[in-house]
Amino acid sequence: MKNFIPIFLICLLVMMSCSKDNDDKVQKTQANITFNFSHNWDGTAVTNTDFNTIKYINANNDQLRIDRLRYLISNITFTTSNNEEFVLSGYNLVDVTNNENLSFTPINLIPTGTYTNVKFTFGFNNEDNSKNYLDLNSTSWFVPKMLGGGYHYMQFDGKFINASEDEQGFNYHAIRAVDNPGVNPTFPQNTFFEVNLGEVTLFNDATFNIEMNIAEWFKNPKKWDLNVLNQMLMPNSDAQIMMFENGQNVFSLKSINQ
């Protein structure tokens, strides 16, 4: 009896480990998706340790520093060749300043297979933007009702060297563009946008490594002059539309790990 128990346990262990091997070999039908967000300035990595020091030069030759950067992404969507869409629930407030939420794993799974496109929304679409989010309210992410309500898409704050050689603050805050601030604001055009990442074949859990080139916010197609556009940009629909236009080239898919 004394000898039987250790032998039995060893056999059990071997059986369990064989079973695990078999599981791993089974083709996955559902995949966990993770989005990782990293940031660069024209190819040079940017983290929060680079903040608060004048060290960047934008396309307009303004010297600047980053003090705060956080932005919202939502509606990660996988589209099949039949135009069937699988939307991952939830949204993610990427907070570079505090190194929080740089990785986002939605709770639901996506069937493995080939997709003609993967995309996410920068900010909220208008329908989602009209909802009430307790976590976003708690972190002061809302937009005043007089400016149409809803939520920020991005808060990018910093300082630049102005024409008088002084440090001056800027608040590059992206929201839904609004005209006629007040009781009945109007909306000239949508300023959330979709970021298309292209085709992907999922055969396993996958991590999408997304890059934001921060310099692009100031570059293309509109060269951004911080001496002209620096603060109080939320009620400025022209500035919001420029952010929307420049934002189209900000994100890219660096790699996918499966």
């Binding site: 009430n132 708690s138 002061s140 809302f142 005043p144 704050d157 008088s164 440090e167 603050g169």
Partner: protein, 345 residues
Amino acid sequence: MIISICCSCENESIDTYVATPSPIKIPQLFEKNILAPVIPLDNPQTVEGIALGKKLFFDPILSIDNSQACANCHDPKLAFSDSDRFSNGVDGVFGNRNTMPLFNLAWNFDEKFFWDGNTFSLEHQAFIPVTDDIEMKNTWAEVERRLQQHSEYPKLFKQAFNTSLIDSILITKAIAQFERTLISANSKFDNYLLGNTTLTQEELNGFNVFMDEAKGDCFHCHGSDKNPLWTDNIFHNNGLDENFNDLGLGAVTGDPADNGKFKSPSLRNLEFTGPYMHDGRFATLDDVINHYSEGLKNSSTIDPLMKKVNQGGVGLSDDDKTNLKAFLLSLSDYEFISNIDFILE
């Protein structure tokens, strides 16, 4: 296994006492708009714990010479703040920071307390003043000894925590429980949002100044109709000084980029909580509004959210200032400062 089950049954029969749960009553606007309060799993709110915490809060037994209670500097009538610029401790020595008011503390989601965020959690916060050299100047061993020998406290601790053995952890847990009940959510503006009352035109205009990025732009740091805390509980340099006598958050983190940063206080109950700022430098609300309008001082760490710093601020008109003040005063919660649950009978 059978023995083990028997043992656990036996333990349960011996030790069945639990204090009476007393969950926090979440105000309607809070429930609708912000996350749930932070209640530590190891310190749930109970009727007996809250009552004990209240007694301790008002009891000078915590101080070395039995002269000062928490309530001496945190006056309920002043929304648990102090009308003096600095508070004096048992030896009459003054501190160098203005006493922070106490309300809605369970919604401080990051749980960083004090003007410079040097302490994590409300329980740990309660540890500090008792042994601080300027404040109560006591030792925990002495406090524990006094309470243990007291005619009432051992029984009250038994009721709250099921033990008569008093220690500093249980003392601070009780105080934290009481402090979490200090909820302010019944101002005129709260009632306006709930549809129970109307605002004057002055107050409405003031709210617009508050929310207008080109005017007050207060909402980025101080909440809104969507965040009834009226603070982001985050640390900012709001342009008080060009050079810093007090490094604030910078002294805690050691990061020069944090120098001169202090926690945004809630704008609720400003009517009762003056003087203002971390060092109480502004005696009146007008002084505060004037500071943001034309008194900003530039420095390397001033928050970029401060507008037109080179001109001293956004330059509010006299009407804007009057309206903004009227709105801010609509955040006064008179019920809170007279709530008998928060006052020593």
